[in-house]
């Protein structure tokens, strides 16, 4: 069980094939901001979200320090064309989503979508070099 004293850690999802799952291929969500990180690298993420549109990777209420990092993945066919969905609940008792970098992915026609209340500039959302 996570406590506030042991929040430093990492959630690493590397080199997996995430296929045809009902919601997101990977879902990362936090309830605090201290010292953890989420890294999704080198995964094939295809055809997820057929029950609910969350995309291949869903990052929600995640204010990780140093960051959430999504790179070198290969996306295609995810519902709503969503490769990565970055959202914020908006509740005052939940973290504000920030510090997300999405780079060097093969998008396969999918996109990165920011939910309402998430600002690329104010929340340090970096999206670059994907095709």
């Amino acid at each position: 069980m996570l406590t506030k004293d042991t929040a430093v850690g990492s959630f690493n999802v590397h080199h997996n094939y995430l296929l045809h799952n009902g919601r997101a291929g990977v879902r990362h969500e936090r309830n605090e901001c201290s010292g953890a990180e989420f890294i999704a690298v080198g995964n094939v993420i295809q055809n997820n979200g057929w029950e609910s549109v969350r995309g291949g990777v869903s990052i929600h209420d995640a204010c990780d320090d140093p960051r959430s990092y999504v790179a070198n993945n290969s996306f295609s066919g995810n519902a709503g064309n969503l490769a990565v969905r970055i959202t914020d609940n908006g509740r005052s008792d939940r973290p504000d989503t920030k510090n997300v970098t999405v780079e060097n992915n093969t998008m396969g026609g999918n996109i990165v979508k920011l939910g309402s209340g998430v600002s690329a500039s104010a929340d340090n959302i970096v999206i670059r070099n994907s095709n």
């Binding site: 996570l2 959630f11 080199h15 094939y17 995430l18 009902g22 990977v26 969500e29 080198g42 939910g115």
Partner: protein
């Protein structure tokens, strides 16, 4: 980051014919770190949630050859499979500092509670968690988020969470005498 092949872990082979959940759950509470090594080309039916003690790992066989690359990503094509043998809501539960590697996992089923429908439930993975070289597919929910009972739940391949899952819509709910939830007011995220 936690390493898949942590030399501090003792290798414990899991026989192909065993009840995997019973086997792992009976041994994982041991105080030493262990990696439960599954056999190649075997499908294990999971009849209860596999719970890994903090520090333990679950690994399938490493296939021969070089994994296929898909753009910058890797298709690991594991030969060891875990399938849902008992309509389980999740196949594997993490307790922190766990590694899950070289497994094909499918069939986790939404059961109406938060956190169900994920092959790997990482909600209690309180420290470093590594999920690598797996094929995670066809994990599902039976309902969608327009149903109040499904709100706050997920049907992902992998879910990492430090509190609870918020659905696409948050509701103020009421329960009737049969504990059926009704959404009184929806709060869009």
């Amino acid at each position: 980051m936690v390493a898949a092949q942590d030399p501090r872990r003792e290798v414990v082979p899991v026989p192909a014919t065993t009840d995997i959940a019973n086997f792992v759950n009976s041994k994982s509470p041991d105080s030493k770190r262990q990696v439960f090594q599954l056999a190649a080309n075997i499908t294990y039916r999971v009849n209860a949630l596999i719970i890994l003690r903090a520090g333990d790992a679950l690994s399938g066989a490493v296939p021969s050859g070089t994994p296929r690359m898909v753009g910058p990503a890797t298709d690991p094509d594991p030969t060891t499979k875990l399938v849902n043998g008992a309509a389980l809501e999740s196949l594997i539960g993490l307790r922190g500092d766990n590694a899950i590697t070289w497994l094909d996992m499918s069939g986790a089923d939404y059961k109406g509670q938060q956190g169900t429908g994920s092959a790997i439930s990482a909600g209690s993975g309180n420290d470093n968690t590594l999920i690598q070289f797996n094929r995670i597919h066809d994990n599902e929910i039976d309902h969608n988020t327009t149903e109040s009972a499904a709100l706050g739940s997920i049907g992902s391949g992998v879910k990492g969470i430090y509190e609870y899952e918020a659905g696409a819509i948050t509701c103020m709910i009421t329960l009737d005498m049969a504990s059926r939830a009704t959404c009184l007011r929806r709060i869009p995220l």
